[in-house]
Symmetry: D2
């Protein structure tokens, strides 16, 4: 077990098979704020060629969960209990960047928010907004990541 | 263009790169109700080995969208404007089955709901519940699928 | 303290000042299912004369919370941690009826759903759909209602 | 009809019977941002004496809707199609202040967010976070407020 929460975020992220399958990578991470990046490509598309809302949701949810986890003590795991996502523009561009942050950390429940941007030519545009409730789970073997 | 909405659902589904990447397949489909199935495996996992909530969300969102599309006239496309998903049990088992249906079809907006089940040994258990708003888009070239 | 959960629901409802202010009344209640009724009138209207979405949300949230509470042991209180509501038709008619039910009861969190109907001439029409997460709180003095 | 959107917000707010019934008042308003204030009292309480989540939701929803309306042309009306609210602390204090703002204005749909604070002794504390989709409706007689 690693006492550094950011190190635990990195280890946990590397264990999420879905993130590797989507080609998602960790961006900047700091206590309470985690970035996940996706590069649009046909393997993660919907029927019109844009990035599928499900792929956008997946990185937005993970960014939110890791933002919460980045503030947790060792031995505490994080589960998403619910999220809502609003899509405001098509997910297209060079990179899709999900920036998760903690809005309010609680003992059992933590409220998080992720803003998702599409980046093209160095310009960012908001494409989606997610709010999620994360639940802290203590003391389950192998669940601290 | 195909006048049969269920045929259009099948064509559109086959164009969603993400569904192929996740290994998702169409199950039963009928007007207003669409099933999408996922087989748990490491490529779609989160850090504890369960199916990632993002993968569950992706099939639940697609099932909801195709349920809406299955009631649309030719030339009308469907976009998800928002969804919320609540997770009530870990996504584990032999199959994850998302059953989307139309709650209320409107001219511009259609409300949909997807119940997601984990199936093990022929037994189904509810693991997630999604509600989503779908928007009808008319008359954009190549957007009818 | 009353060992009968339905009796505790009635007592708790009578203590919600907002329900009295809105003119809301309890309808049928049974374990896991609670109905709250509102009669449209100018005091609870929005600017076009329909019942305000906030009033619809209030009875839908309370119906969901009491559905959860109706399954709880004595000494356990219930708090709404989040809800989402979709509005699908104007809230107008003779009565607005919110029917809350438990979708999945958990130790800490309970998922609930409320369907809201407008009744006119004995006919019911769905006007809104709410999903909510309820949290069980044990052992706080005076919080069991 | 008034060409000034902020004036139309004030007129519309004065027509919401529910706001008067709750004792809610308009705070600061500017293009894209609207504040609504509530003073905790037994008439808007839940069973433990805090302000009822339904009352908090009502002012948060109205603040979001008026933030959207404050950017609309004359003759355009605004309807809430859905909102989600997360509650992070009890609604208690001297004043409950809902601050709605437009996140992304679109032709048909506008995404809004409201942060709700409880103020005590000049200190503010976040108690709830709402995100809502507003729909623009044009050309219905008497619906421009």
């Amino acid at each position: 077990m690693n006492a550094d929460p950011l190190a635990r975020v990195r280890v946990s992220f590397s264990k999420q098979g879905l993130m590797a399958t989507l080609g998602a990578t960790l961006g900047d991470i700091s206590p309470g704020a985690v970035e996940i990046v996706l590069r649009p490509n046909p393997a993660i598309s919907q029927q019109h060629g844009f990035v599928h809302g499900g792929a956008v949701s997946a990185i937005a949810d993970s960014a939110a969960g890791y933002a919460a986890m980045s503030l947790m003590s060792v031995g505490i795991s994080v589960l998403t209990t619910e999220f809502k996502i609003n899509f405001v523009a098509p997910a297209a561009g060079e990179r899709i960047i999900a920036r998760g942050r903690v809005v309010k950390a609680g003992r059992t429940l933590t409220l998080t928010q992720t803003d998702v941007f599409a980046e093209t030519g160095g310009q960012e545009k908001l494409i989606a907004l997610l709010t999620a409730t994360m639940m802290s789970i203590a003391g389950r073997e192998g669940m601290d990541e």
